[in-house]
């Protein structure tokens, strides 16, 4: 076996060759047209895109489709590749949703760690006033890359949970479009590399929001980020179409909509947002990219120097913000809906009680998904948008609290009087609820336009959304990893290390978000390398940094736990949590084809209080099948 037989290595080679080819050809065309030999940004755009294509060809994600075009049949290759050790499956194109789910998960963790490292770097800088070891531009680059890499990590993490769990939970063997699934995963890899590269090609300084016209004038790194995010968006769109069709068409007999595990509902809701709204971040980033490369004046309020006077109006800055937030507000629900789904999924298991108000919780996900499309203006209260729109956007923003509140009440009612056992996954679920509460309570003051005029662009906002994202996604994601770890590996994680992880991370996070909100209220601005010592926020800044390191260390413990336990952990029983969900009724690690026969659903998913009731029957009773 050679290195080149690993798909990812071939992919990387393909990306290098493709990029060089794209740039080379563009420059050659320029010269042929009689223009001076110069590498303009347009050539780099071509290089980036051809490079990404090169990666996909190299890794082999396009092989089957190309053969189909030539009329060659390609049966779906399942199981470990022939003549290679089975671990190589994870490093190349594989069509099993369980492999792809793990690939997504590991990629997400890698991004999470790298982006976390960036955060710790600039937090050290921010601990004391004045500039210590970063200059302004480097600070901006690191801060911006931290933000966008975290967004990418979360999107990829959503992909991990959606891909691994959805088919298992609806009792089917795989996603409906396995090749599309593999394509959707692999496109993230060149995209993530582009985002990483951005730091070394001039950096960029706009923050994750890439507001034009700042992004139009930013250094070259910006272009890498714009296109990298565009490709990640493509992955989101394709992945969510796959999820929607799978959930609609591949449910096992008896599993009608209101008998699906609640997590499946939340993934469905998330996919509805992701497959539609994502187009608009793609479009807006593409427009910035074109404005940079070709001078197409979408957003800049002045005409380009070379513009011929044809009576044309100039671009408009607010157009970017509208397009961007039309995706990026719903995007926050793309992260948190699966997270909240995990909370609702795990609470009944660890309280041995039915999920309170199952139908309402299911429908609240849908309501959040739909209402999320009508609130984007709350990010623009201070932007100079039409004044008459402030009140409507304020009202819609407040209304979303209703379906979100439904979930909170359901969680509390589910816990109430339950036989609660506090193993690590449950601890993280409870931690998630506590932190999401902070995020949820700090939100409304931003949503009320009068108070937002004061809060906007302060560290208070940073505190708000970190709490919302940690509580809504990161904590549930960690809970999910602990919870399904025995299912995935067949071994148990170490409970002691898990508890240590929790007790370091959770108070750390409480401290961090409250301190962020506090320094923000005292006048600390966001996205700035230096601050005024007169603000009197030394203690607050120090606490944020210390908390950041506590979280970082706790994540290292987490990583060590996962790696050690995967190799040496105690062998786990197939259903260590006495869960009723279909995937816990089959052996661990899950066999290649998951279910020997399609399981039949004969009852309600969360009747934990009634030991005799059956949800999944594994050997299909002919009478029960519908």
């Amino acid at each position: 076996m050679t290195v080149l037989s690993l798909g990812i290595v071939r992919g990387l080679a393909g990306q290098l060759i493709g990029s060089a080819l794209g740039i080379g050809v563009s420059v050659a065309v320029r010269v042929a047209m009689g223009l001076p030999l110069e590498v303009k940004e347009g050539a780099i755009v071509v290089g980036i895109l051809v490079g990404a294509m090169g990666f996909m060809i190299g890794v082999g994600a396009l092989t089957d489709w190309s053969k189909w075009m030539l009329g060659i049949e390609t049966p779906l290759r399942l199981g470990p590749p022939e003549g290679k050790p089975s671990w190589t499956r994870y490093f190349g194109v594989d069509y099993s949703h369980k492999i792809i789910g793990i690939q997504y998960g590991v990629t997400s963790m890698v991004l999470l760690f790298l982006a976390g490292l960036l955060a710790l770097t600039f937090r050290v800088e921010l601990t004391t006033p004045g500039l210590q070891f970063l200059d302004n531009h480097t600070y901006n680059t690191i801060m911006s890359t931290h933000g966008i890499a975290m967004i990418a990590a979360m999107l990829v993490g959503v992909g991990a949970m959606a891909n691994y769990l959805t088919p298992l939970m609806i009792g089917t063997s795989d996603m409906v479009f396995p090749r599309l699934n593999a394509f959707g995963f692999w496109i993230n890899v060149p995209a993530a590399l582009l985002i990483g590269t951005s730091m070394y090609v001039g950096g960029w300084d706009t923050g994750w929001t890439a507001y034009a016209p700042l992004s139009v004038n930013a250094p070259l790194g910006m272009q890498f980020v714009l296109l990298g995010v565009f490709l990640i968006g493509l992955s989101s769109i394709l992945g969510s179409i796959n999820v929607i069709v799978t959930v609609l068409h591949r449910r096992t007999p008896g599993m009608h909509f209101f008998r699906m595990p609640i997590f499946v509902w939340s993934v469905l809701a998330t996919s509805i947002i992701a497959f539609s709204a994502t187009q608009l971040i793609g479009l807006s980033f593409l427009m910035v990219s074109a404005e940079r490369a070709l001078g197409m004046t979408f957003f800049s309020p002045v005409l380009s120097p070379g513009a011929v006077a044809v009576g044309s109006p100039a671009g408009q800055v607010l157009l970017f913000q509208n397009l961007f937030w039309f995706y990026s507000h719903p995007a926050v629900y793309v992260f948190i809906l699966p997270g909240l789904g995990i909370i609702s999924e795990l609470l009944p298991v660890f309280s041995r009680k039915p999920l309170f108000g199952y139908k309402w919780v299911a429908l609240s996900s849908m309501a959040i998904a739909l209402m999320g499309f009508f609130v984007w203006g709350h990010h623009m209260f201070t932007s100079g948008m039409l004044e008459g729109l402030r009140i409507p956007f304020m009202v819609t923003t407040m209304l979303i609290a209703v379906p979100t509140g439904v979930k909170f009440f359901s969680w509390i009612a589910t816990l109430w009087g339950g036989k609660i056992s506090l193993q690590t996954p449950m601890l993280f679920v409870l931690g998630a609820i506590s932190i999401f509460l902070i995020g949820g309570l700090t939100g409304p003051p931003n949503g009320v336009s009068v108070s937002d005029l004061f809060l906007h662009d302060t560290y208070y906002i940073v505190g708000h959304f970190h709490a919302a994202m940690f509580g809504g996604f990161i904590f549930p994601f960690i809970a999910a990893i602990y919870y399904w770890f025995p299912k995935i590996t067949g071994r148990m994680y170490d409970e002691g290390l898990g508890k240590l992880h929790f007790w370091l991370m959770t108070p750390g996070f409480w401290l961090q978000s409250l301190a962020m909100a506090r320094v923000g209220l005292l006048g600390m601005r966001r996205r700035i390398a230096d601050w005024d010592p007169g603000l009197g926020i030394e203690t607050g800044q120090l606490m944020i940094t210390i908390a950041g390191f506590a979280i970082g260390i706790s994540m290292l413990i987490f990583l060590a736990n996962l790696i050690i336990s995967a190799v040496r952990g105690r062998v786990a029983s197939p259903n260590p949590w006495q869960s009723r969900s279909p995937e816990f009724q089959i052996p661990s690690p899950i066999p290649e084809h998951s279910y020997a026969q399609p399981p039949v659903i004969t009852g309600e998913p969360y009747d934990y209080a009634e030991p005799d009731s059956v949800y999944v029957s594994m050997s299909p009773a002919s009478s029960a099948a519908d």
């Binding site: 539609s276 709204a277 197409m296 044809v310």
Partner: protein
């Protein structure tokens, strides 16, 4: 889809999912084209650049006509009428290419350049994104024609033809919204 290895009922189940998947993709793309349309109204408002009206009418008619041939091609595939199928397919591709040349050579050859303010940006943005879809549609048609020539489609199994046809009609319908937005609405500033 592989032809021989799947049974007809498997093929039909997959077909149902393929159709849904394709339609979801179209809905998704609606947001892309919708975003461009919104940008047009945001930036141009009640104005529009001075474009060659005759050219607009001609390319639009060509594209509409191509959709008619695409329909014939699908009918041909459904009835296993190879001649009708292939002839109409090639006609569609030719008309599509004519449309594309009309846009790229004549429309883009006019006096407005991409960097000429919002007129240039939106004009090239909208026609460019649409042309990209037409071009990929032509590539799809050529692939389908290649496989059709080798007799790989039957009355029961011709998802490739169907997908290609719906895609073509879809791109055509998008143009029906783009054309008036670019050529007809608003007044030319003097």
């Amino acid at each position: 889809m592989s032809v021989a290895t799947t049974t007809l009922s498997q093929y039909r189940a997959q077909l149902r999912s393929n159709r849904l998947g394709l339609w979801l993709f179209f809905i998704s793309e609606l947001f892309l084209f919708g975003g461009l349309l919104i940008s047009r109204f945001y930036l141009w408002g009640g104005t529009r650049p001075d474009l060659d009206q005759r050219l607009g009418l001609i390319v639009t008619s060509i594209l509409l006509l191509s959709s008619f041939f695409m329909y014939l091609a699908e009918v041909g595939a459904e009835h296993e009428n190879r001649r009708l199928f292939l002839f109409s397919l090639i006609m569609t591709a030719l008309l599509g290419t004519a449309f594309l040349l009309g846009v790229v050579i004549f429309e883009w050859g006019g006096e407005i350049r991409p960097w000429d303010g919002a007129f240039g940006a939106i004009l090239y943005g909208m026609t460019g994104m649409h042309a990209l879809h037409v071009a990929s549609g032509i590539v799809l048609i050529l692939i389908v024609a290649y496989n059709g020539l080798r007799g790989r489609y039957t009355a029961e199994r011709h998802w490739g033809v169907e997908a290609c046809a719906i895609y073509w009609h879809y791109v055509d319908v998008v143009w029906i919204f783009f054309y008036p937005a670019i050529y007809l609405m608003g007044t030319v500033p003097t």
